[in-house]
Amino acid sequence: MVDTIITQGQTDVIGAMDNSEIDNPAEVESKAITHRDARDTVGEPFSKDPRMTCRNVNVFYGEKQAIHDVSLDIGANEVIAMIGPSGCGKSTFLRCLNRMNDTVDSCRVEGNIHMNNDDIYNKSMDVVLLRARVGMVFQKPNPFPKSIYDNIAYGPRIHGLTKNKVELDEVVESSLKRAGLWTEVKDRLDQPGTGLSGGQQQRLCIARAIAVSPDVILMDEPCSALDPIATAHIEDLIDELRQNFTIAIVTHSMQQAARVSQRTAYFHLGYLIEVGQTDQVFTNPKHQLTEDYITGRFG
């Protein structure tokens, strides 16, 4: 039964790769037999309306290769979840999308990552501009040790997005409203953001990210430091934000991936194993490794 699933998956890959020159079918054929060791992506890594396209991305930390030949599209206005066991490279991949890996000296990225037809690793791409277009929310809530207002206003200020105080106030208010934090903090905007609870801090960080109105928001395990109630808050928020933003979220929680995402990508030891509609990946995985992971056999 498993074999047939994989075979079906392979045909999907080949179908999807018609417009790219990643693999030759012969190689795919040989790997389909040793399905547990197969490292080629099965499923639908490509999107009809991509906001970001990644082709043959390899990432190295010094000599060690952390990401092997990953090709994936991030579609417009979708939530794509990246799951996989610890150390599988999902966070590393996420951080390639706004070149956060630049800050690591030993890190080297190969391959193509395009955003709206701009190569983000091209020399002409300004990394500050890129990060204004691709916002990020981190694992641990990291508000600036400044007031709540200044936390939100920081991005618009440095990018010169507002002309005056009134406009800035509006941006702060709308960002906090969209992050579902406005009613809780509207009376204490001048108090330090670090004084909020963990869940509130994380929503503040999301508000900070959307204040710059990015096209894409990357979230690196945004709920791993939060309790279930705060997590539920953030998940609702992610669902609402999908209307206006494209969101790529790394998560350890498969339930969370199932709840918030439309597509799911499963990473394993630096390889992108399977990508598909979230329902399909969780109910009917095509790859043996994916099935093992979601059924809790490892990971």
Binding site: V128, F138, N142, P145
Partner: protein, 430 residues
């Protein structure tokens, strides 16, 4: 089953507990012992300094009935400033002393009599006459500085029991002093001279204001140079510099500089700043430059530690919203690291304030009477003043040395407390 032969786990743990607790106790006692020993040394040090120095804050004054003799002040009857300045005021004092002790005769004895009063007494009279010329021709009781030997006698630092030939103060001088005391003409007052004048050959007229001003100007130059340079270097090395052999080499050298003996910096300053660049010697400018070299490593190392302690998540947060590297540093990292940097700077400054050896080499050990008014005026510094006075033979300089040390320690404590308070006040938790 083998309850008798092998003790149970619980018994074995119980048996080892005693030993473990005893060890813990012992470590605590070692710690307490170490602290007690350091406290003891501190007490001995402070006790010695304070017990020797506290008397310096009082000074003996003698009341003389002065007749402002016009013949001595204005022999030709002119009342202009120049004449008044050059009047024979010591003659007036001698006259009043002779009047107070009419029995004293003979050159030797008269000279001994005159030496009861300080050389500075004539300055006191001159100032008085310049301020109130109408005093000329009148009689007035004036409190003037006593000589340092008399001061020592009154304070009990000179024993009356040692044989006369071993004392600088002779028996008849002691008699006169006793007589003055009996008349209520000798009094101890707060020693304002010590805080308001520069150095002097006469201990009763010597003060630390000159040295304090010299230290102030020197530290001003040091701070103005070492703070910006040190912080800029720390930020570059910590935030911008690539990790390679060259930056490793720089790091090793900075750490080495922190351990170079200060006299070497002094010699360097002498060779470069004074001999090559021709800057004035004995000046706070050169002292400040030399101390800058010395404090830079301290400030750089402390500032780098402060920068390192700013959590990486703050940098990530700022980078994540699109701040440039410079903005990350100036908007977020620097404000958070500033308390640590300031603490490091204050510690460096305190070190510089106490530094003596390099200042000796660049000539700040000169005998300077005038209070310096700028960074190019000749001056000394507080620790150098301590060194100079400790080297002086007069007994009265002993207490002044201790008093100067107390003032120096006071400034050091003030600076260190400021450092601690700054850190407490601005320290952030997240």
């Amino acid at each position: 089953m083998n309850n008798n032969s092998t003790p149970s786990v619980e018994d074995r743990v119980r048996a080892s507990l005693k030993k473990r607790y005893a060890r813990e106790k012992r470590f605590q006692y070692y710690g307490i012992g170490a602290i007690l020993i350091s406290l003891l040394f501190l007490c001995v040090l402070f006790g010695d300094i304070i017990s020797k120095g506290y008397t310096a804050f009082q000074q003996t004054y003698v009341k003389l009935d002065i007749y402002f003799d016009p013949a001595l002040i204005t022999p030709e009857g002119q009342m202009d400033q120049n004449t008044l300045i050059h009047g024979d005021y010591s003659g007036i004092i001698k006259q009043s002393l002779r009047d107070a002790f009419p029995n004293v005769s003979g050159r030797q004895d008269k000279r001994k009599l005159y030496s009861i009063v300080s050389n500075g007494a004539s300055h006191t009279l001159r100032k008085k006459v310049l301020a109130h010329p109408e005093l000329i021709g009148k009689k007035q009781s004036v409190w003037v500085l006593a000589d340092d030997e008399i001061d020592m006698l009154i304070k009990g630092h000179i024993s009356r029991d040692i044989p006369e030939e071993d004392r600088r103060l002779k028996d008849n001088q002691i008699q006169w002093v006793d007589q003055l005391m009996a008349d209520g003409r000798i009094e101890k007052r707060f020693n304002t001279t010590f805080f308001t004048s520069g150095d002097s050959r006469d201990p009763e007229m010597a003060g630390i204001l000159g040295a304090a001003a010299g230290s102030f100007y020197t530290l001003l130059v040091t701070l103005a140079l070492s703070f910006p340079i040190g912080i800029a270097a720390a930020i570059y090395l910590e935030e911008f510099a690539p990790q390679n052999r060259f930056t490793d080499f720089i790091e090793v050298n900075i750490n080495n500089l922190a351990a170079v003996p200060s006299i070497v910096f002094g010699l360097l300053g002498l060779a470069i700043f004074i001999n090559f660049l021709g800057l004035p010697r004995s000046a706070p400018l050169v002292g400040g430059l030399v101390l800058t070299l010395m404090t830079l490593p301290t400030i750089i190392i402390a500032s780098r530690a402060a920068l390192k302690s700013v959590p990486y998540s703050i940098r990530e947060a700022a980078l994540g919203v699109g701040a440039s590297k410079m903005q990350v540093v100036t908007h977020h990292v620097l404000p958070l690291a500033m308390p640590g940097m300031l603490t490091g700077t204050i510690i460096g400054m305190a070190q510089a304030l106490g530094e003596t050896a390099p200042l000796l080499v660049i000539g700040m050990v000169a005998f300077v009477v005038d209070i310096p008014g700028g960074i190019t005026d000749p001056s000394t510094a507080l620790p150098v003043q301590v060194f100079l006075w400790a080297d002086s033979p007069e007994r009265a300089f002993v207490e002044r040395t201790s008093a100067a040390i107390m003032v120096l320690l006071g400034f050091l404590a003030l600076m260190n407390i400021t450092g601690v308070l700054l850190r407490k006040r601005f320290e952030r938790r997240w």
